[in-house]
């Protein structure tokens, strides 16, 4: 197995996993929050927020990547701030790749979670409210457990998307081996080289296996959760 891949390929695989995982885990709380706000609150900028969240889905990834570069690059408004205050650079770092992947995965996660929230019986939340639970506690103890299957679905979707993200990532952080060269950019690179096909095939298989693994884990978790919830 170890022989199958060169060190660059291994680096890409580990990096992809790390980037996708960090992107997914980092985006998840925000996705849950945004989904909740979109599902349950009525406020003036609601449609705008909704649109903003979906933007990365609609724009060509290159554009998203370019916008990321403009905003989060060293010279971008946010990027400069991050650098000056925290000494954080995102551009051309794996953290930047994670940011790009997270932003691309975000709409998918929000949608899945939002659907789950909308399916929760408000009567149960009412019941919790009469029992004195604060909004926060109701969310944590009633809503969240009930939407766990949806959150899981969103997480997997996000993870898979983050794993496959290419256009925005390569535009924002390039494809630096060991730093930002994820599986998809490695595949892209290999496609440019004579005789790259076998390596491409190997990496495609890795992608598929990783995604399938994530799917299977999530299905299994969802079933466990469903059993707990007594469905």
């Amino acid at each position: 197995m170890t022989d199958m891949f060169g060190p660059a390929e291994w680096a890409a695989i580990w990096l992809s996993l790390r980037v996708a995982l960090v992107a997914m885990l980092g985006a998840l709380p925000l996705a849950v929050w945004v989904a909740f706000v979109l599902a349950r609150k009525v406020f003036p900028g609601r449609q705008l927020l909704n649109g903003l969240v979906h933007l990365p889905l609609v724009l060509p990834p290159v554009v998203t990547g370019y916008l990321l570069l403009v905003v989060f690059g060293r010279q971008g408004p946010v990027g400069a701030l991050l650098y000056d205050i925290f000494g954080i650079t995102l551009a051309f770092r794996w953290t930047g790749a994670a940011l790009a992947a997270a932003i691309m995965a975000f709409p998918l996660m929000v949608r899945a979670i939002r659907l789950a929230i909308e399916a929760v019986d408000p009567g149960l939340e009412d019941a919790a409210a009469t029992l004195g639970a604060s909004k926060r506690r109701i969310f944590a103890t009633v809503t969240l457990p009930l939407i766990l299957p949806g959150v899981l679905a969103g997480a997997v979707l996000g993870f898979a998307k983050a794993l496959g993200e290419f256009g925005a990532t390569i535009t924002f952080v390039a494809a630096i081996p060991g730093q930002t060269q994820t599986i998809p950019s490695a595949i892209y690179g290999l496609l440019q080289v004579p005789g790259g096909e076998p390596a491409v095939l190997r990496l495609v298989i890795v992608s598929v296996v990783l995604a399938m693994g994530a799917l299977m884990i999530s299905e299994w978790l969802a079933r466990r959760v469903a059993r707990r919830v007594g469905r």
Binding site: D121, G123, L124, D126, A127, A128, A129, T130, L131, G132, A133, S134, K135, T141, V142, P145, L146, R228, V229, G230, R231
Partner: protein, 353 residues
């Protein structure tokens, strides 16, 4: 004390009720769709009335004019929903303790929840669910208790077990309890105040003994459900026969079973249909209770029955006899007759603490 005066539109339905619920149980009685659940929801803060005011003790829960509208969590209501609304992802134990663990051991014991604690709501039967919901509300130590037909899904023995607990609860905690029910014997047993609603409005309202013994209340309640409620004192116990002697202003009544200690006050409902009238004191019959009474009212119903208002000492009783009997016996207001009450006819569900 709970004061309610609200108006609310719900689709085509208009709710406009005002009443005061003192400490103790206030029963809300009315036919399906009359607005009972809507009233309870407004008190819990789960719906916003268009106008009005809801005050518990001295705390204003809702006042449209003053723009006060406490959220449900700050109202400290214990709400037993008509559909249990248990949290499906929690065990029974976690459901119960969700709002607090007030008096947990006793609640679990009285409601018979001990064996269910590790189970999940999905596996519970309808009655089991309702018991858990009741326990959950009780354990949150509320300042008002709202019960929307909490016992409708329970079988008679279980009901009979839970009712005394509710009665003790009512007496132990001096909080108002709003109790929606369509079972008069439950109402009579528990309630101190009775509010009858119809089509969104209060049509009768007052102390339960009063409302139930009004001959004109018979059609509102259904003929079978009318009957007086009297307060009695435990005056003695006939141990060999397992009977309890209850004294009230009109005499003594023997009932099977033992309730309370000597001197305890006991509420007794005497269903109108279970009172037989006799011109002379009968002898050699199995009915133990024969009380001299005076006829105070004769109310001819739409059907073949006649509601007969009776005075026994200072208490009011109600009898329902057929028109044929009333005629044959020549019943008239002011007449002195005997009321025969069968000891076993006043079932355990008609006796409250």
């Amino acid at each position: 004390m709970l004061q309610i005066a609200i108006q609310q539109r719900l689709g085509d339905f208009a709710l406009d009720v005002a009443f005061t619920a003192p400490a103790g149980v206030t029963a809300i009685f009315g036919r399906s769709g009359s607005g009972k659940t809507s009233v309870v929801n407004a008190v819990a803060g789960l719906s916003d009335p268009d106008a009005g005011r809801i005050v518990v003790a001295d705390q204003v829960l809702f006042d449209r004019a003053q723009r006060i509208n406490l959220p449900p969590q700050r109202r400290r209501v214990g709400y037993v929903f008509q559909d249990a609304r248990l949290f499906p992802h929690m065990t029974v134990a976690r459901n119960l303790s969700y709002g607090g663990s007030h008096d947990a051991a006793r609640v679990i014991e009285v409601l018979g929840l001990g064996d269910l604690l590790g189970r999940r709501p999905a596996g519970l039967s309808g009655g089991e669910r309702q018991r858990v919901a009741l326990g959950r509300a009780l354990m949150s130590n509320p300042q008002i208790l709202l019960m929307d037909e909490p016992l409708a899904a329970l079988d008679a023995p279980r009901k009979a077990e839970i009712l005394p607990y509710l009665a003790r609860l009512r007496d132990a905690v001096q909080i108002p309890i709003l109790y929606v029910s369509h079972d008069v014997s439950e109402v009579a047993r528990l309630a101190t105040t009775l509010v009858i609603v119809d089509a969104g409005r209060v049509v009768a309202n007052g102390p339960v003994g009063d409302v139930l013994s009004r001959p004109e209340a018979v059609p509102l309640l259904g003929v079978r459900d009318a009957g007086a409620v009297i307060m009695t004192k435990v005056a003695g116990r006939l141990l060999d026969d397992g009977l309890t002697e209850l004294a009230f202003s009109g005499g003594r009544i023997l009932l099977p079973g033992s309730f309370g200690k000597l001197g305890d006050r006991v509420r007794l409902r005497i269903p109108a249909q279970d009172v037989i009238l006799s011109r002379t004191a009968p002898t050699g019959i199995s009915a133990l209770n024969i009380l001299p009474v005076t006829i105070t009212a004769l109310e001819q119903g739409r059907g073949p029955g006649v509601a007969v208002g009776l005075r026994a000492g200072n208490d009011k009783l109600l009898a329902r006899v057929t028109r044929r009997s009333a005629t044959r016996m020549g019943l008239a207001v002011g007449q002195q007759v005997y009321a025969i009450i069968k000891a076993t006819a006043v079932g355990p569900e008609d006796v409250g603490g």
